[in-house]
């Protein structure tokens, strides 16, 4: 028996329990075996349970059967049959066979991810620092975690990596080479000889023994290409560290979520090391590899899964972990449906967060305060959980506006899951506030904070999601009811202190006070809001100026989330304008960004007009570039998501026409995939980018691009007091004399102030 210390790497099931790759402190990588049995539970009428017992005894004599009592949070404690297997790989087979025989029994703890079971049993998680006692057969006898997922300061291993990327986007053109980068350097491998390619890659894997393989298009192109090449020329290729296993390959799929269609490409998952395809990693752009590791640490899900799945999987896993640790049953198929409600109760309950309409125009010295993780804070503070909602006990709290109570006797499963997550994020945000952006820790802390934010965000959504294991719509409604109540309390606090409410949006307030222009002057406001609501709150900053924009269709009608402004430290904040939209051509985005940067030099709203001559000149130059054809075609690309199959469109929008062209070129795309195209003159008015190159760049629809450009320019110059007609006359025709005493409502606001 000997001891090893290191970090938990890949963990997956085996015949006898779990295989755990330990990333040893000295640099070695050890394949170890961890004993683990799997238990699921069955409930139902006594006679049927007895028959199920007899069936299992006969069909699966190795299963260990016991009678026990466990808690179903929706029903209470109930008697169940526990079915335990020493071989995890048999678990699903035995369950399916039993369910086929007894479909009407209630099953629990069926689809819990394997690593969550390991985490519940041993308290470990990916990259957990631990020490193990191991025998000569690599069997772990004792495992002691040395850090917690909730530690901000923790040790991290020196991960070895291999970065593999093609020399071009395979969706656009056939790659000719791949680049393989490691800590030792970068090599180029041509794709013309498959034998050489595979031999060189095998060499790279053997030489560097990477813990993590980072790829571009690894899931969707590289690994499928390599496996096919391997079969074709009979040269073996196994990128796993565990050579006894074959890689897992999952098919592509498209699904509908949060109002839009998402495409998830096919996947290649490795054993013993992690493969992350940065082009197929769902939230990679939000928080990168540091964020992926952080989500894996706190959720105990495998790194490869976390990288590819939405944060919903993470929060769902965490809830299951809380349930396992507290002996709460995890339902396989949820039995609960929405409770009966009278019409008025539905009208009262079915509302979201409070969204104000801003006062249109430019406002100086606006103070923005935001509640920190407002919904999760409400869930924790008011103990909102499916089992606590609707229970009127001696220690229950009434939900404002709704005639329902929340039991405060025992902490609910959702608050119990969220509390450490929320506390960790608040701590990290506190650290971030003290760090300079140049500090090397800033980027890491920011990624962690973003990763945790997404887990917290989806947790609220999962309360109302019908398929969530621990969801219940009434708890979802209670959260928004409390949020409206607290936001209004904050508004009242601000108004009592003499602030004017310029805007409010779910968890943030935009306020101004004639005597408040410095951060330290806002302390009484923050203290008062915290005193009245009991929720954590932070000052986002004070804007030198902020412009709230009207609707594009009606310039007197405000819209809630369309504004841009500059904070006192020079940071810009924009919402709802072209620069933020994913389908805006890069060229137009850049022009709008430069215009805002120029406007940002103004110290307050009155000086915005000084930027006008420069802004007009920049716009004129942009128009000239479009007319002269000097803008690179890549910068004119429009990127839109295909929301359904091309054949399902009744009216063919530009994106469908572009996708049709791809289909014709033999490159069919699935719903949820992004399509890049150019606007051109003549039918079908679009040209798809990932087909053969456009033969006549002269066919670019310049007037349309100018129109799109002017729309983007107008949005940012409108608060300066220039209307559309004037802007077009000045920039396109060059014959307009700026009339800075426009009587538009916007300039009027400026003049009045």
């Amino acid at each position: 028996m000997f001891e090893l210390t290191g970090w938990v790497g890949d963990v997956y099931e085996s015949e006898t329990g779990a295989i755990l790759w330990l990333l040893c402190s000295g640099g070695k990588r050890k394949k170890l075996y961890l004993p683990l049995s799997i238990t699921f539970y069955v409930a139902g009428p006594h006679d049927k349970l007895r028959k199920a017992w007899q069936f299992l005894k006969t069909a699966y004599p190795t299963s260990q059967l016991t009678r026990t009592t466990r808690e179903d949070i929706f029903i209470g404690h109930r008697e169940v049959m526990a079915v335990t297997q020493a071989q995890p790989t048999q678990h699903q087979r035995i369950f399916r066979s039993l369910q086929k025989q007894f479909p009407n029994l209630i099953y629990y703890d069926i689809d819990i991810p394997f690593t969550i079971r390991v985490a519940a049993e041993y308290g470990i998680f990916p990259l957990c620092y631990c020490t193990v006692s191991v025998d000569d057969n690599s069997l772990i006898h004792k495992l002691l975690p040395l850090d917690s997922a909730w530690d901000i300061v923790h040790t991290t291993p020196n991960l070895t990596y291999l970065l593999i990327e093609p020399d071009s986007n395979p969706y656009h053109s056939e790659p000719q080479n791949i680049f393989v980068t490691s800590s030792k350097g970068r090599i180029k491998i041509p794709l013309d000889s498959k034998r050489l390619l595979l031999l060189q890659l095998n060499g790279s894997f053997a030489r560097h023994n990477p813990d993590i393989v980072l790829t571009e298009y690894g899931d969707t192109w590289l690994f499928p290409y390599l496996f096919e090449a391997s079969r074709e020329i009979s040269v073996s290729f196994n990128p796993n560290r565990d050579e006894d296993k074959n890689v897992i390959q999952r098919k592509e799929n498209s699904y509908f979520t949060y109002g839009h269609v998402v495409y998830r490409g096919q996947q290649t998952l490795l054993f013993g090391r992690w493969h992350v395809d940065v082009t197929n990693a769902m939230m990679y752009g939000e928080y990168g590899l540091h964020g992926v590791f952080e989500q894996a640490r706190v959720s105990a899900l495998p790194v490869q899964e976390v990288a590819r799945k939405s944060p919903g999987a993470g929060i769902s896993g965490m809830q299951m972990l809380t349930a396992l640790k507290n002996n709460i049953l995890v339902p396989y198929q949820k039995q609960q449906i929405e409770a009966f409600k009278a019409g008025q109760e539905l009208v009262n309950g079915d509302r979201g967060g409070m969204v104000y309409m801003p006062l249109i125009g430019v406002h100086d010295n606006v103070v923005e305060v935001d509640f920190t993780s407002m919904y999760p804070s409400i869930i924790v503070k008011h103990n909102i959980s499916p089992e606590t909602i609707g229970k009127k006990t001696a220690r229950a709290e009434l939900v404002p506006e709704l005639d329902i109570y929340v039991d405060q006797t025992r902490e609910g499963i959702i608050p119990k899951t969220l509390r450490p997550l929320l506390e960790k994020r608040i701590l990290i945000k506190g650290q971030l506030a003290t760090l300079s952006k140049k500090d090397c820790r800033y980027k890491v802390f920011k990624a962690w904070s973003n990763a945790l934010k997404w887990l917290l965000v989806v947790c609220f959504g999962y309360l109302g999601y019908k398929n969530a294991k621990f969801g219940k719509i009434e708890s979802h409604e209670a959260v928004t009811a409390f949020s409206r109540h607290h936001l209004l309390s904050a508004k009242e606090a601000a108004e009592d202190l003499g602030y004017e409410v310029v805007h409010m949006y779910v968890d943030g307030l935009y306020l101004k006070h004639p005597a408040v222009h410095k951060q330290e002057q806002t302390k009484p406001l923050l203290d008062e809001i915290v005193a009245r609501t009991g929720l954590p709150l932070a000052l986002e900053g004070i804007y030198n100026w902020i412009a709230f924009l009207p609707s594009t269709l009606n310039d007197a009608a405000p819209v809630p989330n369309r504004f841009f402004g500059v904070f006192q430290d020079g940071t810009l904040k924009t919402r709802g304008i072209e620069e933020r939209r994913h389908d805006t051509p890069e060229f137009i985005r850049q022009v709008q960004q430069k215009l805002i940067d120029r406007l940002a030099q103004a110290q307050n709203g009155r000086f915005l007009q000084c930027a006008l001559p420069d802004a007009i000149k920049m716009t004129q130059q942009a128009i000239l570039a479009l007319r002269e054809g000097t803008v690179p075609l890549e910068d004119l690309l429009v990127t839109q998501t295909l929301s359904k199959e091309v054949s399902e469109y009744k009216v063919q929008p530009a994106v469908a026409r572009a996708a049709y062209q791809l289909e014709q070129a033999g490159k069919a795309r699935r719903p949820g995939q992004k399509i890049k195209f150019l606007h051109i003159l003549g039918e079908p008015n679009v040209y798809v980018w990932d087909a053969p190159p456009l033969s006549h760049p002269a066919t670019i629809n310049v007037p349309l691009y100018i129109e799109l450009l002017m729309r983007a320019v107008h949005i940012v110059l409108e608060p300066v007091g220039i209307n559309k007609t004037a802007l077009n006359a000045l920039c396109i025709n060059g014959c307009y004399q700026p009339q800075l005493t426009e009587t538009s409502p916007l300039i009027q606001t400026l003049t009045d102030s």
């Binding site: 979520t257 949060y258 109002g259 019409g343 008025q344 539905l346 009208v347 009262n348 079915d350 509302r351 979201g352 409070m354 969204v355 104000y356 309409m357 506006e401 959504g461 109302g464 999601y465 409206r484 209004l488 409010m504 009606n554 007197a556 009608a557 405000p558």
Partner: protein
């Protein structure tokens, strides 16, 4: 995900649509004023939503009246009444 009930903004738009024939029968100049009334209502969608009134049009009328009153008061201030 998704809501069973309409948002306050959608309610205002739908109520406006309900009066399509009413609007049609108005003179062009009056149609502009009619549209403006609903723009006033849109400025108070948060309050309309917060009320959860079974007959939302009543809250829309209240929101319109509120803006009209503000306008009257501003005009009064301008002529020092």
């Amino acid at each position: 995900m998704g809501r069973t009930l309409k948002t306050a903004n959608q309610i205002v738009l739908d109520e406006q649509k309900e009066f399509k024939q009413f609007r049609r029968a108005l003179r062009r100049l009056d149609q502009h004023s009619f549209d403006k009334l609903f723009t006033y209502a849109k400025q108070h969608t948060a309050a309309i939503s917060q009320t959860s009134h079974a007959l939302p049009f009543e809250t829309i009328l209240l929101a319109i009246n509120l803006e009209l009153l503000k306008e009257i008061e501003q005009l009064k201030q301008k002529i020092n009444v």
